[in-house]
């Protein structure tokens, strides 16, 4: 066990709060379009103003993802990315960046195949700060969450527009780091969200959960990011980035993602 790994997420949100800024959290699939792009993309995201990085762990059956993220997972798997490879990428990123929190986001089965204990210790040693398992609701997460906690890793959970107050209470008992509010009914990359509804929901979540709230699913442009950042602590941009990775020629991928994220950052800070 790597005694001393402490999640960088709370400190990051604290300093953002003190500076009066909101977090920009990019998401993209590790290994897309190839394993060699992952660490350069992470550094580019930080240069563009990312405060936390959500790194997708590719899975063959991403049930909660729309077509853009599905294709990214397929490209990553074809290029040979594995959960072990994702953790190694985080360790490599840490050699140059000791401060930016990194969250792994994916599905349960690759973690089960590695084994909970091995996963937790490897992720802790690599400097992972949070884990979001999309298909593990809180009631199926107790064992993994406890193991991650011993490694100083936060367990991030989703809340959705249909989550009732009782479930928000249940999630608040097991979640740490931040809450990921899924701002629309659908899969990743679906239609645009309704900012007024998001404002109303984040108010309700705050009355149950004492954690920063990130909002994602459906944030496709800087204007929406700006509007959402007025009512949330963090803005998650996923499919829009993944689309850029798909569209850009390999030589331009890193620069195009950096430019895109800089636009989001600027809109949120202006």
């Amino acid at each position: 066990m790597t005694a001393g790994n402490v999640s960088r997420i709370p400190a990051r949100f604290k300093s953002l709060r003190e500076a009066g800024r909101k977090a920009l959290i990019p998401y993209f699939a590790a290994g897309d379009p190839g394993p060699e792009f992952t660490v350069p993309l992470m550094h580019a995201a930080v240069r563009a103003g990312a405060d936390v990085i959500e790194l997708g762990v590719p899975f063959s059956d991403p049930m909660a993802d729309g077509p853009v993220n599905q294709r990214a997972a397929e490209r990553a798997l074809r290029a040979g990315m594995t959960l072990r490879g994702v953790i190694e990428a985080v360790a490599e990123f840490r050699r140059q960046d000791a401060l930016t929190p990194v969250v792994l986001m994916g599905y349960g089965n690759p973690i089960e195949a590695m084994g909970y204990e091995l996963f937790a210790s490897r992720a802790g040693a690599a400097g992972v700060d949070g884990v979001l398992v999309v298909d593990y609701p809180p009631e199926e997460s107790e064992v993994l969450t406890a193991l991650l906690r011993t490694q100083g890793i936060d367990s991030i959970f989703l809340l959705s527009p249909t989550t009732d107050d009782a479930r928000m209470e249940a999630v608040s008992k097991i979640a740490s780091g931040y809450i990921y509010y899924v701002s629309l009914k659908g899969v990743t990359g679906a239609a645009n969200l309704d900012v007024n509804e998001v404002a109303e929901r984040t108010r309700r979540i705050r009355s149950h959960v004492d954690l920063p709230i990130g909002v994602g699913f459906g944030i496709r442009d800087p204007q929406t990011a700006r509007a959402v950042s007025a009512v949330a602590d963090a803005v998650v941009v996923g499919s829009r980035i993944v689309q850029e990775i798909e569209d850009a020629p390999a030589a331009d991928v890193v620069r195009r993602v950096e430019d895109l994220l800089s636009g989001f950052r600027k809109a949120m800070d202006d």
Binding site: F59, S60, D61, P62, M63, A64, D65, G66, P67, Q70, R71, E74, L77, T82, L83, R84, Y107, G108, N109, P110, I111, E112, A113, M114, V134, D135, Y136, P137, E139, E140, F157, L158, L159, S160, T162, T163, D164, R167, V182, K185, G186, V187, A190
Partner: protein, 405 residues
């Protein structure tokens, strides 16, 4: 972990859908509300006498139940050992056991006020059964089907369209059943207010495994009174094929407490387990999480789901219902497998000896029965769930024999 000891009352799953370590609800938060609502409504319906009476009436007058048990005398004589009996689910409307479950779920959808039905399908049998009940009740129906399967099952695609359903090709992943299930789930997340998702097997998140089992358990309940009535006693063994496992759970469940009746599930060994080209999840897989439940899966060492193979599209699935996973570990059910070639041989034997053309899925169960029958006494009774008829398989069987129709 809760253990199931002999003599203990079998009351799985628990209130959250667990069969020992298997089952459960492994979905994104976006689906939790819909599943909780469904579990609540199903709990109410299964204790509601008028709902049950309506279900029973539809099964009798629309599906054509009860299905008979038929003694295959010529085939048994040929094998020279145990007597082979068939539970004739092939005689149901639409030609398989699938209609039992789709009828139950469609009635539940009506009770919940949902006007739109979605379903996933592999070979098209469940899609046809869903399209059928949707037409019966005047509901909109959308069926998700992998584009590879659409190519292989053109006739069933046309049947669904005749019944008024839209068939949506799925182009992601391996473009087969598992991807169709992913896509139907994605539709449901966004449409849950007006849409009921009819899952076709005893898999998926709670309450699907228990609900689909219960709707199909009419098969085993009938057998339980038919056997003493026609043959003076219960069978010595019951055999059923297992893909997702809905026909098997349907006939096994009422017999789980009957310790004297051996239960045998037969998986698809494809080209042979050793070749890796198969769909024998319980025989060669290991536990993991897919499609909302923890169960045995065919997966690589990194936990990615691998493509399966079986001559029978209905068994070509990398997972299996969580209750089967539990019944395997607990030892109550024995799981065997039959290869493509063994299933085909059983298919032809049943055509010639009994004048019954079985589904290739059911032919797997028969293949194993034909293997063990000669070694058993003539007084032994083997009840095989003949889960479907083989009309849909004409092209597959013909092309395997070098013919094109």
């Amino acid at each position: 972990m809760q253990m199931y000891e002999p003599g203990q009352i079998y009351d799985f799953p628990d209130s959250r859908g667990h069969f020992g370590p298997y089952g459960g609800t492994f979905v994104a938060e976006t689906l939790i509300h819909a599943l909780e609502e469904l579990a609540r409504e199903y709990d109410r319906a299964k204790n509601d006498a008028s709902f049950l009476a309506e279900f029973e009436s539809e099964l009798k007058h629309y599906v054509g139940r009860p299905s008979p048990i038929y003694h295959a005398r010529r085939l048994s004589e040929h094998l020279g050992g145990a007597q082979i009996l068939f539970k004739r689910e092939d005689l149901n409307h639409t030609g398989a056991h699938k209609i039992n479950n789709t009828m139950g779920q469609a009635l539940l959808a009506r009770h919940m006020g949902k006007r739109r039905i979605i379903a996933e399908t592999g070979a098209g049998q469940h899609g046809v059964a869903a399209a059928t009940v949707a037409a019966r009740f005047g509901m909109e129906c959308v069926v998700y089907m992998g584009s590879e399967d659409i190519k292989r099952q053109a006739q069933n695609v046309y049947r669904m369209k005749l019944l008024g359903a839209s068939v949506v090709p799925v182009e992601s992943g391996s473009r087969t059943l598992k991807d169709a299930l992913n896509e139907a789930m994605r539709d449901w997340v966004a449409s849950v207010e007006n849409t009921f998702y009819i899952i076709g097997t005893v898999a998926g998140p709670h309450p699907y495994p228990v609900m689909v089992r219960d709707f199909n358990a009419v098969v085993g309940r009938e057998a339980k009174w038919q056997m003493p009535e026609s043959f003076g006693r219960q069978p010595d063994a019951i055999l059923a094929c297992v893909g997702g496992g809905s026909n098997a759970m349907g006939i096994f469940h009422p017999y789980i407490a009957e310790r004297g009746v051996k239960l045998i599930g037969v998986e698809a060994a494809g080209s042979g387990i050793a070749t890796g080209r198969h769909a024998a999840t319980l025989t060669a897989g290991r536990p993991g999480v897919l499609h909302g439940n923890r169960t045995y899966l065919l997966q690589d060492e990194d936990g990615q789901i691998i493509e399966t193979h079986s001559i029978s599209a209905g068994l070509d699935y990398p997972g299996v219902g969580p209750e089967h996973a539990w019944l395997k570990d607990s030892g109550r059910v024995e799981y065997a497998s039959a290869t493509d070639d063994q299933a085909l041989a059983a298919f032809h034997a049943l055509c010639r000896f009994e004048g019954i053309i079985p589904a290739l899925e059911s032919s797997h169960a028969l293949a194993h029965a034909m293997q063990i029958a000669p070694g058993l006494g003539r007084d032994q009774l083997l009840l095989v769930n003949l889960s479907g008829r083989g009309d849909k398989d004409m092209h597959t069987v013909a092309s395997h024999g070098g013919l094109s129709l």
